[in-house]
């Protein structure tokens, strides 16, 4: 059976050129970048070259790139690192409700360590209102963390407006750009943030490589202590092949970005338009201001996991909510924060497209999806309505 992989927010396949660039660093060029002889020097040069490539993708300076092992590590590093570095100025953080668990749980950790965190509400499309940010700032606020775009609903946040408010008050801003870097233009100086997270496998690079971009002059407390790697800000012998792969993937993403967006956006719109014809299936997130390859929905009276299983049986591999919700029988906190009732939020489905998908793939998904919905509704105890449960339908309807 043909496979239709439409879960690119989970991860992407490695670009063949990326694998090719990585291979020598698994084999003959195995040196430790800290070694002073030839093996070390070659590994060191490879890392520095990757640093330039990654910096180039987001218009940062190479020295501003700190390689990490993942986007989650970069998010943890940003939250803890900035909060701790500025704790003598204040111990209050603003964190949006749209964040990934690596931001939310890092914030939770800080709360337990004596910081105060205010969680920023969002509107029905998932936007954080800059006005709300302004209202929630206190004299103690040192850091604001708002995702560039949520991988669950694809809405792109107004980071620049939030930065403008923060700068007037000398507050640092972090954005989790894991879902956006390599997928839409991300220009760090233009966004104006102080720290920004990214992950290589979101743009056809390898897993195990991420980065925190730290604006020059920003103080940050290390997450991992030890050696002098990454200018003493992130200890541990570098994952040279993964970093090289991240560099190559960044170079390719920069060169092909417009082409990729131009290819993916019509596919995304095609899927959104097709779903508009399926009864009681609603688009989540903003219709236009969203990631170019991201289409997310909630289907009424249906459980997301059941949809995933039936779709997988037809060769379609998609996602439903966050790991938290899908593995723990719990509605996604991101969808709930957008005012989507918990019953409806259980029926969440995300199709995230990649360069391997074709218009024919979308035709196939659009043809198979309604049958899956119909079959599940027939066996759903709520198919005639929620009864005494909550009413559904408060999110953006596609029709």
């Amino acid at each position: 059976m043909k496979k239709y992989y439409v879960d690119h927010v989970a991860t992407n396949p490695l670009h063949p050129d990326v694998l090719k660039a990585m291979m020598p660093y698994f084999t003959e060029e195995f040196g430790n970048p800290l070694s002073v002889y030839e093996y070390g020097m070659k590994a060191k040069a490879a890392i520095e070259s990757a640093r330039e490539q990654v910096a180039g993708l987001v218009n940062a300076k190479p020295a501003e790139i700190i390689f990490t092992a993942s986007g989650a590590e970069a998010n943890n590093f940003a939250l803890r690192g900035i909060a701790l570095a500025r704790q003598n100025e204040g111990k209050h953080l603003l964190v949006s409700r749209m964040e990934h668990h690596s931001v939310l749980n890092a914030a939770r950790f800080l709360e337990k360590s004596g910081f105060t965190v205010t969680y920023l509400p969002v509107d029905k499309q998932g936007f954080v209102a800059p006005e709300t940010v302004k209202k929630m700032i206190t004299k103690e606020t040192t850091l604001i963390s708002v995702t560039h775009a949520s991988s669950e609903v694809g809405t792109i946040e107004p980071i620049q407006e939030i930065v403008a408010i923060a700068k007037e008050r000398n507050i640092s801003v972090h954005t989790d750009a894991v879902a956006t870097t390599g997928n839409i233009p991300v220009d760090m100086p233009d966004l104006g943030v102080d720290v920004m997270s990214m992950a290589a496998h979101q743009f056809y690079g390898p897993k195990g490589a991420g980065a925190l971009v730290v604006k020059q002059g920003t103080r940050i407390v290390p997450l991992i202590y030890g050696g002098i790697q990454e200018s003493g800000r992130r200890a541990g012998t570098e994952n040279v092949p993964a970093i090289v792969g991240m560099g190559k993937a960044a170079e390719l993403a920069k060169a092909e970005l417009q082409e990729r967006m131009a290819y993916l956006r019509p596919l995304r719109d095609k899927i959104i338009d097709a779903m508009a014809n399926v009864e009681r299936v609603y688009l989540t997130g903003d219709r236009n201001n969203r990631l170019p390859a991201h289409a997310s929905f909630c289907a009424e009276y249906i459980e997301g996991e059941a949809m995933l299983l039936l779709l997988a049986a037809k060769g379609i591999f998609s996602a439903s909510g966050s790991a938290c919700s899908s593995k723990a029988l719990k509605a996604s906190p991101v969808l709930l924060s957008m005012g989507i009732p918990s019953g409806l939020a259980q029926g969440s489905i995300v199709f995230s497209l990649g360069m391997g998908n074709t218009p024919e793939d979308i035709d196939y998904i659009a043809a198979e999806f309604p049958a899956v919905i119909k079959r599940l509704r027939e066996i759903s105890p709520y198919s005639q309505g929620w009864g005494d449960k909550e009413e559904g339908g408060s999110c953006t309807a596609t029709k």
Partner: protein, 83 residues
């Protein structure tokens, strides 16, 4: 919230310092191992569990007996249901 003391658990699991969704994943995993009527004790400092664990019990027809507090964490007691 129901508070209980001196509950004798059949199985104890310690997930102090673990965050969402570990409390639900561990709960599900441990409950599968128990016989109906047996009691699970979960030690956690994650305050989201105060809402999630009773909810989970309701959804899955297991009995939430209550919590016991210590200075550093909560102890949750759940009795496995008969179906």
């Amino acid at each position: 919230m129901k508070f209980v003391q001196n509950v004798k658990p059949d199985v104890t699991t310690d997930i102090v310092y673990m965050m969402c969704p570990m409390h639900l994943l561990k709960l599900e995993e441990q409950m599968k191992e128990l016989e109906p009527g047996q009691i699970l004790e979960i030690m956690t400092d994650y305050d989201g569990a105060l809402e999630d664990i009773p909810d989970w019990c309701k959804k899955t027809n297991n009995e939430f007996l209550g919590i016991d507090e210590t200075p550093d964490f909560f102890k949750f007691y759940i009795k496995k249901g008969t179906r």
